[in-house]
Amino acid sequence: MTDYKMHILVCGGTGCRASQSEKIVDAFKSELETRALDDEVKVIATGCFGFCEKGPIVKIIPDNTFYVQVGVVDVKDIVEEHVIKGRPLKRLLYHDPATKSQVTDTAHIDFYKKQVRIALRNCGFINPENIDEYIARDGYAALGKALSEMTPADATQLVKDSGLRGRGGGGFPTGLKWEITAKEKSDQKYVVCNADEGDPGAFMDRSILEGDPHSVIEAMAICGYCIGASKGLVYIRAEYPLAINRLKIALEQAREYGLLGDDILGSGFNFDIDIRYGAGAFVCGEETALIHSMEGHRGEPTFKPPFPSVSGYLGKPTNVNNVETFANVPVIFNKGVEWFSSIGSEKSKGTKVFALAGKVNNVGLIEVPMGITLREVIFDIGGGIRGGKKFKAVQTGGPSGGCLTEQHLDTPIDYDNLIAAGSMMGSGGMIVMDEDDCMVSIAKFYLEFTLEESCGKCTPCRIGNKRLHEILDKITKGKGTLEDIERLRVLGNVIKDTSLCGLGQTSPNPILSTLDNFYDEYLAHVNDKKCPAGQCKDLVRYEIDPDACTGCTLCFRNCPVGAISGEKKMPHYIDQTLCIKCGVCYEKCRFKAISIV
């Protein structure tokens, strides 16, 4: 990045693209051209900065000025004020809600202060479609080092010593997996990257591939060298067109530079990577199912052992790792084992990327050192709960995980602690819930997901989850009994113990953990026929308090079914026979005149 005086980085992640960031890139380009500045200032579309809540994001380097919620209309001002006159454009700076002051760079934004970026080190810094920018930040140095200075066994030992564990959910030691696969004797072995990202509400892997695809390619090549494979496969969701496109461009460029293909860097090592597409089946994230899907079959899991390391793709030894796991590998080679293992907790080294979402103020993609507490993540990085509401629970591990509560807020996050607390690390979904979220409904939401995604191969998962869902449905409709609650527990445990694959074995977790932590809420649904959070439609009614109602007509104008009537400046009234309980009036009323009973 030496030729230009200034770089304008515009977020090209999915969230910001949804708010027209591509048009912002175009606008900058044409504005700079008209002013004949395009030789001095370069515009780059990067991957996700993480702070999606405040997108579209624009960052200016070398000043490190961070602009939030930028629109196409702001481009001219940024060029005039910042690029030409050299002073930051105040109105687009981040406004710190606590100190009420404006902040110019990320180092002083609470959202970034506690983050440590390893897997996301390049996301938001480089143009993912240009390999030179990756190389300028030490890209492919790790591969060079491994190939020229290390034996495969040494390189594997280094990954082992770092303490890196799989980021796809299970937390299996990565170096050990490589070692096992390396020991297998075979004419052909495979390196597979799992980019199926099934957790509904998470986008870590996608952002890494969109923002820094070369880090994954480099790590796969290193893995190939370590285990003795010449072929790599990325299994990616077809629903990720941008990630697929950037990956394809990156593969092409790596081949052009001789970093993939035959005799890489003159070492005699051959390695290339192909792409395989997922087609919308959550269970295909499970490694045996994924392998069947890559072979062109229905993605049904099979019993382990044999593990893929022994018999995987086309029956050959196959090493499967997650995108984020791979993204960590090159840095470990560059910065060393000691550096990496100094970050994190005793048994979980390094960092974890989370997609922080739900009822927090700062939704986005974060990377934190293992051992950080949930409180720091939710309140410092996440900026606390939206709208001043009360924190209720945080869900990690997606449909396989559980809900943690207030009492777990100070637990350091790592693989073992989260399991001990009744949840799991999972692949990185972290959903924060507030007092308005009904935990029985949340459990039902996850179960609906597993039910839809069960491959149907084994009975406990196929039939058992259906029964669980029927019971939950009864409870949310106010027709459940105390025996039903007990049945959830008993049946849930049977499904856990007898299902064939991880999907079934973990599917009852959202129910079991909410039963443990929010038993009273289940009781309220069953005994009092009430939903304390006011979410279960069959158990609530919306009512207007005639004394508080000012007759502003806002609710009347917004009700989608015309259930509200009343004269201007007179109390309004809801016709319960027409009301579909959409909750719009409740949200709109500015006088707190509407209540859920």
């Binding site: 969230g15 999606c52 986008f203 979402a357």
Partner: protein, 163 residues
């Protein structure tokens, strides 16, 4: 499903795609992806032809098409509407938005309106959780959608935002 005779275009498309993968059985999923991208959907007749070209049973092709939710056997509406039902969107009111689309279009998820204008589907996380709840019309992303915005989104489509 009514039997349709494949157009010449469809027949040649399927044959070309299969040939580009050397008519290999193991490439079935890649073949289906490309055929669906070109033809929009995978009716029984297309599946039969794919089976013939790849030299495998039609039952196996059917088994794969029905296993994966990305593959569809019915044509999409002119304006395919997808509501994100990922967790982040769910806790920020995605279900209420979906309900309102169902109510206004009078169709359920997986269906297309009688005039072929709209179809409705549910997705899981499109990666824009910061904008939750999210609705996609074709490729266009609508963020922070409230039930009260549904009418506007639909009328924008009728004005021909996609055509």
């Amino acid at each position: 499903m009514p039997k349709v005779k494949l157009s010449e275009y469809a027949t040649s498309t399927v044959k070309e795609v299969c040939a580009s993968f050397n008519n290999k059985e193991g490439e079935l999923i890649n073949v289906l992806h490309q055929v669906q991208q070109k033809l929009g959907y995978l009716p029984a007749e297309v599946q039969e032809l794919v089976a013939k070209e790849l030299n495998m049973s039609a039952a196996k092709v059917y088994g794969v098409v029905t296993f994966y939710s990305f593959f569809t056997m019915v044509p999409q509406g002119e304006n395919p509407i997808s509501i994100c039902m990922g967790t982040a969107c769910y806790v920020r009111g995605g279900e209420q938005v979906l309900d309102e689309f169902k109510r206004q279009l009078k169709i359920d998820v997986g269906e297309t309106t009688a005039d072929g204008k709209f179809s409705l589907s549910a997705l899981r996380c499109v990666g824009a959780c910061g904008l939750a709840p999210v609705v996609l019309v074709g490729e266009k992303v609508h963020g922070r959608v409230a039930p009260t915005d549904v009418r506007k989104i639909l009328s924008e489509c009728k004005d021909g935002c996609l055509t």
